[in-house]
């Protein structure tokens, strides 16, 4: 998918001025944070489980080649087909060609972030087929022609009124006679419209929450049941997943499911957790005739070999963005690509390139709340700092910042000079600010004083005051 991450600043500014968005984000933040906390309070030792999750993913990544091959063997043994895609292009081509060979007209989709990453919908539509999102949130933003703003709740930024307007415009030929105000009315209408799509789809596309090497299964987690209708009803099922989604066996998947539900929505387990293995068996009454898995690299193998391997542990629960105060202020669209929030601020530069994503690693206070809730303990602040280092090394940081820091560094490494200049400067500012105690405006501090006063220095540096104090005591 095309990235608009370079527009972060303008998008963030627009978002901050959008009262409906503020209302939606506030509601979401309080809901997600509270529910997660409640569910982990009931768990005996959630930190030990997080450590387990970290180790499971680390081990799997350290043996990824073996587990990928094991998974592939098991998929084939179950009658399925594995496709490998180096990049977005290959993934799109693979999916479109499977759809074409199936003679598909209509393709239903259950929410897949990797599908968003490679831009599957646009490719399917360009090939003359209809692609319909079936997760209610994804469906809403598909109607609105917007990308998701959250990986678990794609339409979290939309209010009920906005959704109601969308449904009025798109359903029943724009007939406006019905009430469509309350949540049940909206959900029921989407259910009825999408039920017809489910029943007439030729191909169903899902993502995968986990790929289980032991059995060649994909694990799908939803609350709506849409993924199950997506893979059960059409003739062909395509699952698309990043290569990092592997886990060794079902017990490992179980540990990670315990982490996922609690971290994402505060549920012990989502309403529907499904293990899909191969296509319809000879005596099965339902299920697709073909089962395809598309394994996507798209930069993941590169991350495996560098300082960003930790990021491949991500299980896409959304807890980091739910706990991020920057995300809560600007919402998901400001980040400009598929993955928002802290995990997105690491992933987007790695996938899209540092050059067009300069703001993302910097728009963070490194407060570490994301790390404290991450179910697999990804050191997100460290990775963001690491990206800042890469930016600096590639001279993508503004020259004023780079030279400013170096100059200040040289200065700070000469303590005598530093203390002398500091004493003079602080003395001046202390004098100027003595009566009011703060500055409303100050040359060179415009960014600070644009939103807050600058408290005035007390007038002496501690170093000079301390030396004076000691001299007095010695006498």
């Amino acid at each position: 998918m095309r990235s608009d991450a370079h527009e972060f600043k303008t998008r963030a500014r627009d978002a901050l001025r959008d009262p409906q968005l503020r209302e939606a984000l506030g509601r979401a933040r309080d809901g997600f944070v509270g529910k997660r906390q409640k569910s982990i309070d009931r768990f005996p030792d959630f930190d030990a489980l997080r450590e387990r999750g970290r180790r499971i993913k680390n081990h799997t990544l350290a043996h990824l080649d073996v587990y990928l091959e094991r998974f592939e063997r098991q998929v084939v043994a179950a009658g399925g087909t594995v496709h490998w895609a180096l990049d977005e292009d290959q993934a799109r081509q693979t999916v479109v060609s499977i759809c074409r060979q199936a003679g598909a007209c209509r393709v239903t989709k259950a929410k897949t972030m990797v599908g968003e990453e490679v831009g599957i919908n646009a490719a399917i539509e360009a090939a003359g087929m209809e692609a319909i999102e079936t997760d209610l949130g994804e469906y809403i933003i598909q109607l609105a022609k917007e990308p998701p703003s959250h990986i678990i709740a794609p339409a979290v930024h939309k209010t009920r009124q906005q959704i109601s307007d969308l449904f009025r415009d798109h359903h029943h030929g724009g007939d406006a006679a019905r009430a469509l105000r309350e949540v049940p009315e909206l959900v029921d209408e989407a259910r009825a419209v999408l039920r017809q799509k489910f029943l007439s789809a030729d191909v169903g596309i899902t993502g995968a929450n986990f790929l289980v090497a032991e059995t060649g299964s994909i694990v799908l987690v939803t609350n709506e049941g849409n993924a199950d209708l997506t893979h059960t009803l059409p003739r062909v099922h395509i699952a698309i997943a990043g290569i990092e989604k592997l886990v060794p066996d079902l017990d490992d998947a179980t540990d990670l499911l315990r982490l996922l539900g609690r971290s994402a929505t505060g549920q012990d387990l989502s309403a529907y957790t499904t293990l899909v293995t191969g296509p319809r068996r000879s005596d099965d009454p339902d299920g697709p005739e073909q089962f395809h898995v598309v394994l996507l690299d798209n930069g993941r193998s590169r991350m495996l070999g560098n300082r960003f391997r930790d990021m491949l542990r991500c299980i896409r629960c959304g807890a980091c963005m739910n706990h991020c105060p920057v995300y809560a202020a600007v919402g998901g669209h400001a980040y400009g690509w598929v993955y928002p929030g802290p995990m997105g601020s690491v992933l987007t530069p790695l996938f899209v390139g540092l050059e067009r994503t300069r703001d993302l690693p910097n728009a963070c206070t490194l407060n570490g709340r994301c790390l404290s809730v991450c179910p697999v303990k990804i050191p997100l602040p460290d990775l963001l700092r690491e990206l800042r280092g890469e930016q600096n090394a590639q001279r993508l940081t503004p020259a004023t910042t780079r030279y400013g820091l170096r100059l200040w560094g040289m200065f700070a490494r000469r303590p005598r000079l530093y203390h002398g200049v500091a004493r003079a400067l602080v003395g001046l500012l202390g004098l100027l600010g003595r009566r009011r105690g703060r500055f409303r405006r100050l040359p060179l501090a415009g960014a600070w004083t644009s939103v807050r006063d600058l408290p005035a220095p007390q007038g002496q540096t501690f170093q000079s005051a301390w030396r004076a104090y000691q001299r007095r005591n010695e006498r």
Binding site: G225, P248, L257, T273, P285
Partner: protein, 217 residues
Amino acid sequence: MNHAREEILRRVRRALKRDADSVVDPDTARDTAYASERAPRPTWDEKRLQRFTERFEAAAGTWCRVSGPGDISGAAVDFLHGAGLGQKLQLAAHPMLDTLRWPDQFKVACVQRADPGLSVGLSIAEAAIAETGTLVFWSGPRAPATLAFLSEVHIAVLPLEWLVDHMEDVWTLLRKRDGFPPRALNLVTGPSRTADVEQTMQLGAHGPRRLHLILVG
């Protein structure tokens, strides 16, 4: 795409500083890394059944209990009657349901694939998990996946002896069975739901609006 396969595996091995012939034993490494230790799991003081029903109810499921398989139809009729859900029902083709007797006015169809026009489906769970209040369905001729997802109301039947504590116990139990894993193994915890509109929980997003369980034994 064969090229892509080799290229991805080559890149992965290069990142892991290995070549294709390196001898790697992930299973031993896995034991050392974590698998030899028991994973932290939820624990509870109450009896298994009590834990199960408590979690099942927390997930918005309803349930009743009967003493034997012969009473399943009576319990289903009572439930449908009490909830005003009519007298039409589609059943999975499961031996446990073959010999059930239904009131004359009931239209009961034994189906291989759910008819989306009919609103109530009844099928047998293969196991259940006390930890989470979860029912486990094994897709196949005896339990069409469509029954559990296309019905407006899903009635599930669970013989009590198939209730286990944790999800791992389900794997231990089912791994031994022929044909494991089935095409779809559905772990169902309550009826379908969504919170995609303003974070408000609404039941019946795409799957059943209600999930009713008949515990047998």
